[in-house]
C-alpha cells in the first residue's frame, strides 16, 4: 500500500484545524507583539470544556461555543495580568499556562475524556446536510469555519478599533498619544486569540474523539512554526494575504509532519522536529546577515 495515501486530505484537515491556532498565535505574536504562551493551556481548555459539556448532554454547538468563550476568558486574564498588574507579557502567559493545567484537570476530573460514542458538532453538521461524518465532510466543515473566522478578522482589522489594535503592536506610544486605549486593544487581541485557540482545541477533541490533558503541549511552537512557514513561503502583503498565508503555513507544516511520520519518524520525535524547525527558520535571517558582515543587535531578553 502507498504509504502516502490520504496524506493530502488529512494534512488539509489538520492544517485547517490547527490553522485556527496559527491565526491566534499570529494575532498575539505578530499583530500585537505580545508573545503569549497561554496557548498551551487554552488549547486543552477548549477540548476540556466541550468534552465535559457533551458527555453531560449539552448540545455540541453550545458546547463548542462555550469552549470558545472559555478561551476568551483565559486570554482576558492573561491580558489583565499584563495591563492591570504590569506583569511582563511572556511571564503572564507562562503563569496562565501553568495555572490552566490544574484548571483543565479540574474541569475534566481526569486526564482523558473519550467522546467516541458521543454526538459532536461534526455529526450534527453532517446531519444538517444529510451526509455522514467523513474526512471530506470534516474538511468542508473546517474550511467553512476558517472562512467565517478569516472574514470576520479581515473586516475587524480594517475598522477603527482594528487599526488601533494593529498599531498597538507597531507603536504603542503613538497609539496612546493619539488617544487610543492600548490596554483595551491588548485585552481585545489576546482574548480573541485565545478564544480561537480554544475553539481549535474543541474542534480537534471532537474530531479525534477524545480530550486529553496533554493535548496542548508544544501548541505555541506549532502555531509559531505555521506562522513563520506561511510568511516564508507566501511572502504576503496586506491583511487578507497575511491571514491566508498563516492558514497556508499551518497546512504546509502539517504536510511536512505527515511526510516525516510516514517516512518512519517516531511520533514522539514530532515536538523536537518542530522545535528544531522553528529554531532553524528563526536563525536563518541572522546567519545570512552575519555572512554579509552586517551587525545585528543582541536579542531582547524581556
Amino acid at each position: 500500500m502507498d504509504i502516502f495515501s490520504n496524506l493530502f486530505p488529512i494534512s488539509l484537515y489538520e492544517g485547517l484545524a490547527y490553522g485556527l491556532v496559527a491565526i491566534g498565535v499570529y494575532i498575539t505574536f505578530r499583530v500585537l507583539s505580545f508573545p503569549d504562551l497561554t496557548v498551551d493551556g487554552s488549547f486543552p481548555l477548549g477540548g476540556a470544556v466541550v468534552s465535559v459539556l457533551i458527555i453531560n448532554g449539552v448540545d455540541p454547538w453550545v458546547g463548542t461555543f462555550t469552549a470558545f468563550l472559555a478561551g476568551m476568558c483565559a486570554g482576558l486574564v492573561t491580558s489583565l495580568l499584563n495591563t492591570a498588574l504590569r506583569i511582563n507579557a511572556l511571564l503572564a502567559g507562562i503563569l496562565m499556562m501553568v495555572g490552566l493545567y490544574s484548571v483543565n484537570l479540574m474541569i475534566m476530573g481526569r486526564a482523558n475524556i473519550p467522546l467516541l460514542r458521543e454526538v459532536t458538532v461534526f455529526d450534527e453538521a453532517a446531519g444538517l446536510f444529510g451526509t455522514d461524518t467523513s474526512t471530506t465532510f470534516s474538511i468542508i466543515f473546517m474550511a467553512a469555519l476558517i472562512i467565517i473566522v478569516l472574514a470576520i478578522l479581515n473586516w475587524l482589522l480594517r475598522t477603527d478599533i482594528g487599526l488601533a489594535l494593529r498599531a498597538t503592536g507597531d507603536n504603542e506610544q503613538m497609539v496612546r498619544g493619539l488617544g487610543g486605549n492600548t490596554n483595551l486593544t491588548t485585552i481585545l487581541g489576546v482574548s480573541m486569540s485565545n478564544g480561537l485557540v480554544a475553539l481549535a482545541g474543541a474542534m480537534i477533541a471532537q474530531n479525534q474523539g477524545f480530550a486529553d490533558i496533554g493535548m496542548g503541549i508544544g501548541m505555541i511552537v506549532m502555531g509559531l512554526a505555521s506562522v513563520i512557514i506561511g510568511e516564508g513561503i507566501f511572502r504576503p502583503r496586506g491583511i487578507t494575504g497575511i491571514l491566508l498565508a498563516v492558514v497556508g503555513g499551518a497546512f504546509a507544516y502539517r504536510l511536512f509532519l505527515g511526510i516525516a511520520l510516514r517516512l518512519g519518524l517516531p511520533p514522539t520525535d514530532l515536538k523536537l522536529v518542530t522545535a528544531v524547525l522553528v529554531v532553524v527558520v528563526l536563525a536563518i535571517p541572522y546567519i545570512r546577515k552575519r555572512l554579509r558582515h552586517e551587525w545585528v543587535p543582541p536579542a531582547a531578553r524581556m
Partner: protein, 291 residues
C-alpha cells in the same frame, strides 16, 4: 481641513482664555533611591489660547518631563493640578489627555507606525479623542480628506497613501507626524525638539511646515528647542527652564529685539550660574537661514 476654531471640540476658552493651567506641578523620578531626581519643581504656568510658547533650557532641565506631564504620560506628584476648561485632568490617562493634546516627538519613529500605511496612520490620527468602534477605518471620504491635508506639505505624500510609513525618510515621517498631531484640532500642540534629529535642510522644511500649520489653524503651541535663535524667532512667548524650574518667562514685548547673548545674560542672572552648555551655543546657528 478648513475647519474653523468655533467647531473645535474641547477648545472652549474659559474666562481668562487659559487653555491649560499648571498649578504646583512637581515631578520626582525614582523617589527614595540614590537616583532620586526632581525633574520638575513646583511649576506654575498658564497657557493662553493661541500662545506660541518656545521653551529652552540645558539638557536635563525638565523640558521633556514638562511635556510628558501635559500629555499625561505620567501624573504630577500629589497636589499638582492640570486644569483644562476648569477641570483638573492631572490624573486622567494618557489617552484621555490626547483629546486636548497633540504631540510631535523628537524621534520621527515615535510619532508614526512604521508597519502601517500613510492612510492607516492618518486614520488613527483622525479618531483622536473619539471612541474607536467598528466603522471602516479607510473610507473614500477619509482618503479625500487625507489628500487635502497632505497636499500643503508639498512632499507628494498625497499620492502615496498606501505606502508603508517605514519606507519614508525621517523628514517625511516628521511632516506626517505634524499632520497627525494637528489634523483633529487638539487644544494644544506639543513639539519636543522635533527637528533635532533631522539634517539642516529637512529641519528647515519641517520648521516652515510647523509655522504654516500653527498660524493657519491658530494652534496653541509649546515648542521645546535646543536652539536659542529658533526660540527667539518663533512664537510670542519664551520660557527658559533650569533644574526643573521656569527661570525666565518673556512675553511678546519683552522678546522684541532680544539677541542670543541677551538670553545668555538673562539665564545667568536668573540662575546665578555661568552659562556653560556648549550644545546650546553650538546649535545656535539658525537652520532657517542656513542653506
Amino acid at each position: 481641513m478648513g475647519t474653523t476654531g468655533s467647531q473645535n471640540v474641547g477648545r472652549i476658552p474659559i474666562d481668562d482664555n487659559s487653555i491649560l493651567r499648571l498649578q504646583e506641578v512637581t515631578k520626582v523620578f525614582c523617589p527614595g533611591t540614590i537616583d532620586e531626581v526632581k525633574a520638575l519643581d513646583n511649576i506654575n504656568l498658564d497657557i493662553i489660547a493661541e500662545d506660541f510658547i518656545t521653551v529652552i533650557g540645558s539638557n536635563g532641565a525638565g523640558k521633556t518631563t514638562l511635556l510628558n506631564i501635559i500629555a499625561g504620560v505620567y501624573p504630577p506628584e500629589r497636589g499638582g493640578k492640570l486644569i483644562v476648561n476648569g477641570r483638573d485632568i492631572a490624573n486622567l490617562s494618557e489617552h484621555g489627555h490626547a483629546r486636548y493634546v497633540g504631540r510631535v516627538y523628537q524621534d520621527p519613529r515615535t510619532g508614526t507606525a512604521a508597519k502601517m500605511t500613510i492612510a492607516e496612520n492618518l486614520s488613527l490620527a483622525i479618531m483622536r479623542g473619539q471612541k474607536r468602534g467598528v466603522g471602516t477605518a479607510i473610507t473614500k471620504q477619509r482618503k479625500e480628506l487625507f489628500r487635502t491635508v497632505l497636499v500643503p506639505l508639498g512632499l507628494g505624500l498625497e499620492d502615496r497613501l498606501t505606502a508603508l510609513v517605514g519606507t519614508l525618510s525621517g523628514g517625511q515621517r516628521q511632516a506626517l507626524s505634524l499632520v497627525m498631531a494637528t489634523m483633529s484640532k487638539p487644544s494644544l500642540l506639543l513639539l519636543d525638539e522635533h527637528t533635532a534629529t533631522l539634517d539642516p535642510k529637512t529641519a528647515r522644511i519641517v520648521l516652515e511646515l510647523t509655522q504654516m500649520v500653527v498660524s493657519r489653524e491658530k494652534m496653541t503651541t509649546v515648542m521645546v528647542t535646543h536652539n536659542m535663535e529658533l526660540a527667539l524667532r518663533f512664537g510670542n512667548r519664551l520660557l527658559m527652564m533650569h533644574k526643573g524650574k521656569i527661570i525666565v518667562d518673556l512675553n511678546h514685548q519683552q522678546r522684541i529685539n532680544l539677541t542670543v547673548s541677551d538670553l545668555v545674560d538673562a539665564f545667568e542672572k536668573a540662575s546665578g550660574e555661568q552659562f556653560v552648555d556648549d550644545s546650546v551655543l553650538l546649535s545656535s546657528v539658525d537652520p532657517m537661514t542656513r542653506k
